[in-house]
Symmetry: C2
C-alpha cells in the first residue's frame, strides 16, 4: 500500500507528464510539490525502487504503467469526491480542492465504486476535468485554450486549466462558469488580453486568464 506522500507524488508526476509530454525533472516536481529538490530525488528513488516510475539519474522520470494506473486511480477518486462535494453537499467549486486532496487517499475500492454509482457515473468534475472510469479510461477532449481562439470565433467554456481557489473565485466574480457560451470580440496585440462576450455581457480578460480556460469550438 502506498503512503499519502507517495500517492501525492505519483499524481503530480502524472499531471506534469500530461502537461509537458516530457520526462519529469526533479526541479519541476519539487516545485509543484512545494518541497526541495533533494526531497523530490529521495521520493523518485523510492518510487523507482517500487517500479512505479522509470527514473534515470540526472535525466528525469516517467511513470511506469503500474505507476500510471495508480495515479489515475487517485485522480479518479479526487474528481469523484469533488463532484460529490459540489453536487450533493452544496459546496462551491472553489472550496472543494483541499478537501478532495485528503479524500483521494481513502483506501477502499468498493467505496470509490459506490460513490461513482451514487453520483450516477459522472464524466466530468466541477472544474470540467474528465473523471477516469472504473477501468481508468478517460474521455478524450477536443477543447482548446481560449487564448488560441481568433476574433469572431465562439465556443463553450468546458473546463478550467488552473483550478486554484483564487482563479475560481475570480471567475465567479466575473460571473463565468462551466457551460458558458463565449465569443471573442477582440484581441489586444500588445498584451494578449481578450475582449469577449459572455452571457450577453462584454468583458475583458487578461492573456493569462485566457490561457487557463478550455473552450470547445462551436
Amino acid at each position: 500500500m502506498l503512503s499519502q506522500a507517495e500517492e501525492n507524488y505519483l499524481k503530480e508526476i502524472y499531471a506534469l507528464e500530461e502537461e509537458t509530454m516530457q520526462l519529469v525533472s526533479t526541479n519541476a516536481l519539487a516545485e509543484k510539490m512545494r518541497t526541495k529538490a533533494s526531497s523530490a530525488t529521495d521520493m523518485l528513488q523510492k518510487l523507482a525502487q517500487k517500479a512505479l516510475v522509470d527514473y534515470t539519474k540526472y535525466r528525469g522520470a516517467r511513470l511506469s504503467s503500474k505507476g500510471k494506473s495508480k495515479a489515475i486511480t487517485i485522480v479518479r477518486k479526487h474528481r469523484l469526491w469533488e463532484t460529490f462535494l459540489v453536487e450533493k453537499l452544496g459546496f462551491n467549486w472553489d472550496e472543494v480542492h483541499d478537501i478532495a486532496e485528503q479524500l483521494e487517499h481513502i483506501q477502499s475500492q468498493s467505496l470509490t465504486d459506490k460513490l461513482d454509482a451514487f453520483l450516477e457515473y459522472p464524466s466530468f468534475d466541477p472544474h470540467g476535468h474528465p473523471i477516469p472510469n472504473v477501468n481508468g479510461k478517460i474521455v478524450a477532449s477536443d477543447s482548446i485554450l481560449l487564448s488560441e481562439l481568433n476574433v469572431d470565433e465562439e465556443g463553450i467554456l468546458v473546463a478550467v486549466k488552473d483550478s486554484s481557489d483564487g482563479f475560481l473565485k475570480y471567475l465567479s466574480k466575473i460571473n463565468m462558469t462551466i457551460g458558458d457560451h463565449i465569443k471573442v470580440l477582440d484581441i489586444e496585440a500588445f498584451d494578449n488580453s481578450v475582449t469577449i462576450e459572455n452571457n450577453t455581457t462584454r468583458l475583458s480578460i487578461s492573456g493569462n486568464v485566457a490561457k487557463n480556460l478550455y473552450i470547445k469550438r462551436l
Copy 2:
C-alpha cells in the same frame, strides 16, 4: 493540528474512559491500539505535553476538557460517515467501520457540518451509537444490556456494544438488527445463554452475545 495517530489515541482514550469510568492505564490503551506499552507511554507523554490529557506517570491518564472535545469531534465524524456509507451508498453495517476509521480524519469543519445536514442530522449511527451534535452534545441513553434482562422481560434492540465485523455478520446471519423487538424466554443458569423470541422466531444466544446487545425496555 493533530496527526492521525494522535487522533486515534484520543478516540481510544475516550472510549476506555467511558467504558471503565476510571483512569486509562498504559497497558489497556496499548492493547486497544494494538501496539506496545512503550508506544502508548510515548503518546501519553506527547498528549500530556499538548494538554490533551492529564497524565500521571505510572498512574494513568484521563482526557482534559480540550482532549475530550477533540475526541468527541472525531467520534462525531466517524459516526456521520458510517451513517453516510450505509444510508446513502448502500453499504452493510458490517462493512463501514474500517472506512470510517479513515474518513474520520478528514480535516474540514464545513465538510462535517454539510454532511450532517445532508444526512438530516441523524442521532444514531448504523450500530445504534449516538452521534454527537455540532456542539458535542450526545443524547443520553437509558438502554441496558440484554444480559441484564430477566425472563419474560421485553425490549427493543437499540445498539450493539461490539461493532466488530465478525459480531455484526453473526447478527445478520441470525437475522437480528437494530429496532428488533426481543423477549427473553429463558436464561440458562450454568452458561448464561439466553433463549429469546425475535421476529416471532425463537433462538438461543450465548451469554457473551447477550452482553453485547443494548436493549431499551418496553
